[in-house]
Symmetry: C2
Subunit: 219 residues, 2 copies
C-alpha cells in the first residue's frame, strides 16, 4: 500500500510562513507522507494574511491553509488529520482507539494549552492593549510552555517517540513547540524524555527538513 504522492502533490497548495509553528507541524506531516505541494508564502510580520484574497480562503486569516482540489482547509491539526485520511501511509495515529486518544491528548496539550499563548497576535495584544514589555512577554510565554511541557513529560511513553517507536501527531506537535520554547529562553533540562524524543525526531529528514530555517522564505 502506498500513497499516490505525485497526483496528490499536484492537486495541493500549502499557504505557509517559515516561522509559524503550526505550519511547521503541517510541513512535517507532508514530509512523512512524501507529499510536496506547491507552497505559497504568507508573510505574517508584513500582515500578508490580512489580504482579502487570503481571508477568502481562511476567514481566520491564520497560517497555514491547505488547498486541495480547490477546497481550503485551515487549522493545522484539521489539515494533518485530513492528510492522514487521504494519504494513510505511514499512519500518524496508532491502530488502537486508546492509543489514538493518548496521541491526540498529547497533541492537544500543545495545540490547545501551550501554542495559543505564544502566538504573534497574543504578543501584540500583551504589548499594545496591556502595555507589557519584553520581559513580561517572555515570562508569560515561559509560564504556559512550562505548564504544558510538565504534563507532556509525564504523558510521554517509554518508546523512541511520544507514543511507541514511530512518529505520530504528538511528535509533530511537540517538536515545533520545543523550538518555540528555546526561542522563548525556557530551560528545557527538566524535560529529558521530551528532549530524547526531539533528538530522535530530528534524525528523520521529515522533521529536519521542516525546520523554519530550512524553508525558502526563511529570513
Amino acid at each position: 500500500m502506498s500513497n499516490d504522492t505525485a497526483a496528490l502533490s499536484r492537486a495541493m497548495t500549502l499557504y505557509t510562513y517559515f516561522r509559524s509553528s503550526a505550519a511547521f507541524r503541517v510541513r512535517i506531516a507532508l514530509n512523512l507522507k512524501g507529499l510536496q505541494p506547491e507552497q505559497a508564502f504568507v508573510h505574517l510580520r508584513k500582515h500578508a494574511h490580512h489580504a482579502e484574497a487570503y481571508r477568502a480562503l481562511n476567514p481566520q486569516a491564520t497560517v497555514p491553509t491547505l488547498v486541495h482540489d480547490g477546497r481550503a482547509i485551515g487549522q493545522s491539526l484539521a489539515i494533518i488529520e485530513y492528510l492522514d485520511e487521504i494519504a494513510p501511509v505511514p499512519p500518524l495515529l496508532p491502530a488502537d482507539a486508546f492509543g489514538r486518544a493518548r496521541v491526540r491528548q498529547m497533541a492537544y496539550v500543545v495545540a490547545c494549552e501551550i501554542h495559543p499563548f505564544g502566538n504573534l497576535r497574543v504578543q501584540e495584544y500583551l504589548r499594545g492593549t496591556l502595555g507589557r514589555g519584553d520581559d513580561d512577554i517572555k515570562e508569560w510565554q515561559q509560564h504556559w510552555i512550562g505548564l504544558g511541557l510538565d504534563a507532556l513529560e509525564r504523558l510521554a511513553g517509554r518508546g523512541r517517540f511520544c507514543h511507541g517507536d514511530e512518529p505520530t501527531l504528538a511528535d509533530i506537535c511537540l517538536v515545533p513547540q520545543l523550538a518555540n520554547a528555546r526561542r522563548a529562553g525556557l530551560d528545557l533540562s527538566p524535560y529529558p524524555r521530551l528532549l530524547a524524543v526531539e533528538a530522535t525526531a530530528y534524525e528523520l529528514a521529515a522533521f529536519a527538513d521542516a525546520r523554519p530555517e530550512n524553508q525558502p522564505d526563511a529570513e
Copy 2:
C-alpha cells in the same frame, strides 16, 4: 447498528465540573451517544483538580478526564474522538474526508483559538501576575471570543447545524463557547448563523441536558 450503551457506560467514569465548558462538550457527546457513565465531581474553584490522586489520572490537572476500562484520557476533544470511535452511532463527524476536515477546523477554532484565553487559570494569571482588574479581563475575553466567532460565522454552512443537518463535533464546541460568550457579556447579534445553530441544538435533549445549570454539582 447500535452502541452497547449499557456495557460502555458501566465501564466509564467522567471526572467533570459543571461550569467547565470542556466538560460541557464531553457531556453533549456522551448524551448524543446515549452513554451515562458514573460522574465524579472535581471542584475547580476549590482547586480539587490539584489533588495528587487526580493528577495521577491527568498530569495536566485539567477537567474533564474520562476513565474507561481503567485507562484515563484527558483533553475533551481527544475524549470525544475516542467516544466517536468506540460508540459510532450517531457519528459526530461527516462521512467524507473534506467534511471531516471542515468540522475539525471549526472545532479547533473554538478549542485552540477562543477557549484557551477564557480559562480560569488564564484569568488568574491576568489578575495575579499582570495585576489586571475585571474590566481588562472582560475586554480580553471579549476580544478573543469575538475574533473566533467572526471566523466561525463565515465558516458555518447553510444547514441546520454548523455542517449539514445533524450535530457534529463543531456544534459540540460552539454551543458551550456561546454560553461562555454570554457570561463574558459579548454582544452576539453579529452572529445570526451561529445563534440559529445554537437554537436548533438546544431543541435536542443531548445539548439541553448538558448545560452547566442542569448538572448535579451546579451551584
